[in-house]
């Protein structure tokens, strides 16, 4: 299958079509609306479910030193990825330090929803993937925030109640909800193994793709409704929003192949490297770098990179991973 055929097949999946429906409804200014509580409930469900699925896979496969090494690589990638991003944004994008650092942090981190769509892309092709990739999802969420803050360094506002805020930020970064759900679900799945899986699969496993459809419908609405704010994005930034995931995805595919991951695992690692955060990192940046412009960082990660990855990126990283074997 060529990349084009893969992309087309991807485009007819209910998940991607629901995202497109949401975008269309949003652009048409429809009154269609997913209540906040439902969107948040779906997000909880998806993250806990992803964690559990990873844990069940690991319980089947068993833990090992090789796995710990893979996880270390993933953390390192998340720490370092903001560096080239920052360099580009400062010099080609002509952004100030704070905005460049804030955006760069988003791309070192990951998007759980992009990952979820990736897993469905993989399982539609009946390919297996390693359970510990899910542990990577959790581990790659936050290191880039630290890199971002170091890059922005003293740019923070001195007048504010810094110590209390730093505490608050640290707690937000370490114990943020999505990390806890992913890690918690992973451990619960691992401990519970097959009997645990049998007990809760009708809730957490079987309806997963359908729930993802509803969540993506909402994502589409959000992307379309925020699109006015994306107008601030100039061409070099738009180029960044597409080029950076391609760079990340290529790096991920190469590293994944080098680490000896399966085809599915390599694709998903590439998806992680290519994706950018739009939930955890914006929250942290809003607190730590209040002067950075959210239209830029949310605009890029949610408005450009997320749709690009969903529609074109995932099949492309898969094709690349296949070519590299």
């Amino acid at each position: 299958m060529s990349i084009l055929e893969l992309a087309l097949a991807n485009l007819t999946s209910p998940m991607v079509l629901c995202f497109v429906l949401g975008i269309g409804a949003g652009l048409a200014k429809s009154d269609l609306d997913v209540p906040d509580a439902i969107a948040k409930g779906l997000a909880l469900f998806l993250m806990l479910s992803i964690g559990l699925q990873g844990g069940w896979k690991l319980a089947e496969a068993g833990a090992s030193v090789a796995i710990a090494f893979d996880l270390g690589v993933a953390v390192l990638v998340s720490f370092l990825m903001p560096l080239p991003a920052y360099a580009y944004l400062r010099y080609a994008g002509r952004l100030d330090r704070e905005n460049a650092a804030a955006i760069a942090a988003h791309y070192g981190s990951i998007s759980v929803v992009t990952f979820a769509i990736g897993t469905q892309f993989i399982s539609q092709r009946n390919l297996p993937f390693e359970g510990h990739i899910v542990a990577m999802v959790a581990l790659m969420e936050t290191p880039a925030i630290i890199t971002g803050l170091l890059l922005a360094r003293s740019a923070r506002n001195a007048a504010r109640d810094e110590d209390a805020d730093r505490d608050h930020l640290l707690r937000e970064v370490l114990f943020n909800g999505s990390v806890l759900l992913l890690v918690g679900g992973f451990i619960i799945g691992w401990i519970g193994g097959a009997p645990g899986k049998a007990a809760v699969a009708p809730f957490f496993l079987d309806p997963f793709r359908g729930a993802l459809c509803l969540f993506l419908l909402d994502m589409g609405l959000v992307v379309a409704r925020r699109s006015r704010g994306f107008a601030d994005l100039k061409p070099p930034l738009i180029l960044y929003g597409i080029g950076m995931p391609l760079l990340g995805g290529t790096l991920g595919a190469v590293l994944g192949t080098g680490l000896g991951l399966s085809l599915g695992g390599t694709t998903l690692f590439a998806v992680l490297c290519a994706s950018a955060s739009y939930i955890a990192v914006p929250a942290a940046m809003r607190l730590a770098l209040p002067r950075a412009n959210p239209s830029l960082y949310v605009g890029l990660s949610l408005g450009i990179t997320f749709p690009f990855n969903v529609v074109i990126g995932i099949p492309a990283y898969f094709a690349l991973a296949e070519a590299l074997r």
Binding site: A39, R160, D165
Partner: protein, 106 residues
């Protein structure tokens, strides 16, 4: 000005900020000596930094209104310190007169 039975003049401070900043504002209010406050959800609004409706995926930019009824000196202290917190990001502050029952609560 009509006054109800045994009420006491106080100041009502109202602050609208993004919810990420709410904990800092509440610490500030506590620190200035207010005896209480109430937080209200908003459904969005518009201001100098543009419109902000509810954005389900990332509630970071949602705003809340914090209301604290307190003695005039406490209100002055809050107003004096508020710009440090709401000055950087998004936020508005206003204050008005109210007459409270059970003065010891404020």
């Amino acid at each position: 000005m009509t006054e109800g039975p045994s009420t006491h003049r106080r100041r009502k401070v109202e602050i609208i900020v993004e919810q990420t900043l709410a904990p800092s504002v509440l610490r500030l209010i506590d620190g200035c000596g207010a005896k209480g406050y109430t937080v209200f959800p908003t459904s969005g609004g518009r201001g100098n930094t543009g419109g902000r409706g509810p954005i389900p995926v990332s509630r970071v930019f949602d705003t809340v209104m914090i209301v604290a009824v307190c003695e005039a000196q406490v209100a002055d202290r809050i107003l004096a310190k508020a710009p440090a917190v709401v000055g950087v990001g998004v936020g508005v502050v206003w204050v008005s007169d109210v007459d409270v029952l059970r003065a010891e609560h404020f």
